[in-house]
Symmetry: C3
Subunit: 169 residues, 3 copies
């Protein structure tokens, strides 16, 4: 089934926009979280996102096993938040990102329900001095392009407002 | 009265675009500057912006007291350049940014003349290594979202060209 | 003759989009490369881009002499990839960027065939701590604005998808 990709910068309102897209479909909804709470800053952010979602959302943690999580939720509409943290986790754990991306594409193609994927756009600043940051920035851009080419809808969010890059609003 | 938010990156032409929006209304116009000239680089930039504006612009400096400045200019059309430096000044001075944002929203709601606010989009690069930079980036994104939700018009500027995110061009 | 400016972040798909724009015109096409292979990372990227282009593309290296290269290719449709590396090379070599920009504008105005210019948008992240990076970011933004104002078409690319900022798609 077709899916939607929601792109945006940090604190652009992309998660909130993506939640609203999923909530157009009947509940219950699956929220597949890829964040890992390895420091207070990240734990605070996870808690804040979680507090915003009511009981119609079921949260699943999938820091690495995103394709399996998507395969396991049946026909519930789902939000994946976010692809960029998933990629970070794969790269930090030295996993095979190409194999993981293919598994994700297969899981998305096999889905029988709406899916909205959130991803960060990280390539619009100055070239990072750190080589790992450059490698990550490249990988994130390539992943976004790849999923955008398969998505039915792609929205770019700035200041909470969507620009439609592909499909309809 | 309704206001316009002009978002963009560094050297995207957002100030020039915002000036043109204000200049659609009858002069004199108020230019509310939030920049502080604490180094040569910033002083040069302030001088360059100032040189571009002719005598129909009256410049007011409001590095912190932006809500009071807006309240004090009566019915002159106004340009605020920029919100992001105002937020920087608030954060560096350890002021209450939430109270300041509410005061700004109240001042905007009470205005009886057109207002154009310029803000920087800073969240589209790689995650900064510096914790203060991350905190600032988050606060800037949240402020932009908040004002965008109340603005009648939101324009995103790239290479001097506007994309309309909300309202008309 | 009129030209097209393709703007985007790192790994946004801007080169591929620009190649497709040039390939709407009859071959052979000129690919004017401004990258210099001074490290393995850059050499790998150059090789990857080169592998994507078939024999209908003739590659010319012009790390500094971009205006002369454009003047020398006659009426072949051309892709310049990219302006931002050209600017980097000029700045690192302490060349006169203003004179070079004027020479580029003259060469573009004198062209009798379609030209597509690729440029990076680098101003949408946090302010760089490094003064040289800030100076470069400013110069890149100013160059983008200047060429955008003369271009017939300006496209902003995110995740491989174009947003039209000026002209048609």
């Amino acid at each position: 089934m077709s899916f939607t990709l929601v792109l945006g910068g940090a604190r652009s309102g992309k998660s909130r926009h993506a939640e609203a897209l999923v909530a157009r479909h009947p509940a219950p909804w699956a929220y597949i979280a890829t964040a890992e709470g390895w420091d207070d800053e990240m734990r605070a952010r996870i808690a804040e996102h979680r507090a915003r979602r009511d009981g119609r959302w079921e949260t699943l943690d999938a820091p690495l096993g995103l394709p399996a999580a998507l395969a396991g939720i049946g026909t519930r509409p789902a939000l994946v938040d976010c692809l960029t943290l998933w990629l970070t986790n794969l790269m930090l754990g030295e996993h095979d990102t190409e194999a993981a991306t293919e598994a994700l594409e297969d899981a998305l193609a096999a889905r029988g329900a709406p899916t909205v994927l959130v991803a960060n756009e990280v390539g619009l600043g100055i070239v990072p001095e750190n080589a790992l940051a450059r490698r990550f920035r490249d990988a994130a851009g390539v992943l976004n392009q790849r999923l955008a080419s398969r998505a039915a809808h792609v929205h770019f969010i700035a200041a909470g407002l969507p620009l439609v890059l592909k499909g309809e609003a």
